[in-house]
């Protein structure tokens, strides 16, 4: 396989990561959101392996495997168990309606394209064009955290942001040092556990996981 084809595979996978980000933005059902998150992780993991092959950086294979085990298998499993245990069946409520959210998402993609233009000019890596997609994924994750009311969807948004950051590191510099990546992976895992514990407390206190309820904690002045 020549470099040209691999570069195309790389940008195709980047497009798929962006597509799953948008699909998550438009998805109403929480179970499908978890599945989409797992798909995003899978594309990211394959992409990391491809970049590892192109750049012959062997530590990227390890982080690819790490992504596969944590973001495709472990985290979706934990989230799934959470959804089942907390008996979440309702559709996700959104603050802004979905077509508007998607239009904002498109604007964010264009914004991040312009933002990364100087980096693209300087860089010589073959993955440089996917940097805009990575930044867009981070921003769409953030947008998802802003526009959703439900605590679990906000966490999925947060994890999607982390996916974007990981992708950005891969496409900008062929990945962070392995120690950093191991640390981040562990952090994300621990965070998921802590979130789970918090969710149980929130749902027992408020009978709901909608973060709007927490506004009643505010002190009147």
């Amino acid at each position: 396989m020549n470099l040209q084809v691999l570069a195309q595979v790389n940008s195709f996978l980047a497009a798929l990561v962006l597509l799953t980000a948008f699909a998550m933005l438009s998805q109403r059902k929480i179970n499908s959101l978890v599945t989409l998150f797992a798909w995003q992780g899978l594309f990211l993991s394959i992409n990391t392996a491809v970049v590892g092959f192109v750049a012959s950086k062997h530590h990227l294979y390890i982080s690819s495997l790490l992504t596969l085990s944590i973001k495709v298998i472990l985290l979706p499993y934990i989230l799934h168990v959470l959804v089942v245990r907390l008996k979440i069946r309702k559709e996700v409520e959104t603050i802004v309606n979905i077509p508007t959210t998607m239009l904002i998402g498109i604007a964010l993609v264009i914004f991040s394209y312009h933002l990364t233009a100087p980096v693209r000019e300087m860089s010589t890596l073959i993955t440089r064009s996917t940097l805009a997609v990575a930044l867009a994924t981070v921003m769409i994750g953030l947008l998802m955290m802003i526009t959703r009311k439900h605590a679990v969807t906000q966490i999925i948004g947060f994890l999607a942001m982390e996916n974007g950051l990981f992708f950005a590191a891969t496409s900008a510099t062929y990945g962070m040092p392995l120690v950093v990546e191991l640390g981040v992976a562990l952090d994300v895992l621990i965070a998921a556990f802590i979130f789970g514990i918090f969710f149980f407390h929130i749902s027992t206190t408020f009978d709901s996981l909608s973060v709007e309820q927490m506004e009643s904690l505010r002190e009147d002045n």
Partner: protein
Amino acid sequence: MKALTLIFIEILQAIVVIALAPAFAGWVDVLKCWTQGRTSAGVMQPYRNIAKLFVKDVVIADNASWIFRFTPYLVFGSAVVVGSVVPIISMNLFLAPSADIIVVIAIFATARFFMALAGMDIGTAFGGMGASREMMVASLTEPAILMAIFTVSLAGRSTSLLHIARAFASGALVLRPSIVFAGIAFVLVVIAETGRIPVDNPSTHLELTMIHEAMILEYSGRHLALIEWGAMIRFFLFVTLGIACFLPWGIAVTDNAGDIATSVFLMVIKLGIAGAVLVLIETGLAKMRLFRLTEFLGAAFLMATLGVIAFFILE
């Protein structure tokens, strides 16, 4: 001599489009019956329907204006015009340079505009309701289809259908994210434009859910035959337009008879597969609530826009 051959191919293609469109609609119906476990009436059923309608009398309401009488001919005629412009059996078409892909979409939009006017012309409640729904769907599909087409014309470096089809047919098969996005958007738009299931149900006669059927409720006899035939040609053309833009391999490049025969043969196979794919999508989905359509078509617009963006970012 050369011009004569081109005119001959042009006429041949128009005949192929007019003659094969009901067969394609029949094929889709047959597949749909199979997937739902029903016995089908056969591929030839649309021909029998059209023939039956042509011998029946035309009943026109007293207060119908010329628009009502004129629309069926316009719908059929515009479909035939588009059918002679899209490269379906050959890449050398006499009329093709006269209209690019944006004109094609505009001709379809004109037919739709007159159809909505005719729906409102009689003044029945269902006609007006169908017309307003049709216009709502149109206002959502047209941005999406134009964006999808812009993506394809960016990659083909032209808005002329012939140039696009030639560029795609000659280029090696490459993984282009932008074309994949545009292709998905195009499929979603075709489903909406031709009134297939998540958007409209082509076989419904339940007043509250119909869109296209509600507009043509007042038509009868040869008028109805022309409108139905026009709708079949339109369905056929949207699929062949998709084939010309996204899978143009096999469309004849030269003028000799052998190539054109192969091209027609390949077209029939491609249409058969495309029909099967559409039926699978239709069978797997339930009809959507009207107000959820913004999301469905919003997704189509998003895909098409992502296609344009991906073209600039990733390629």
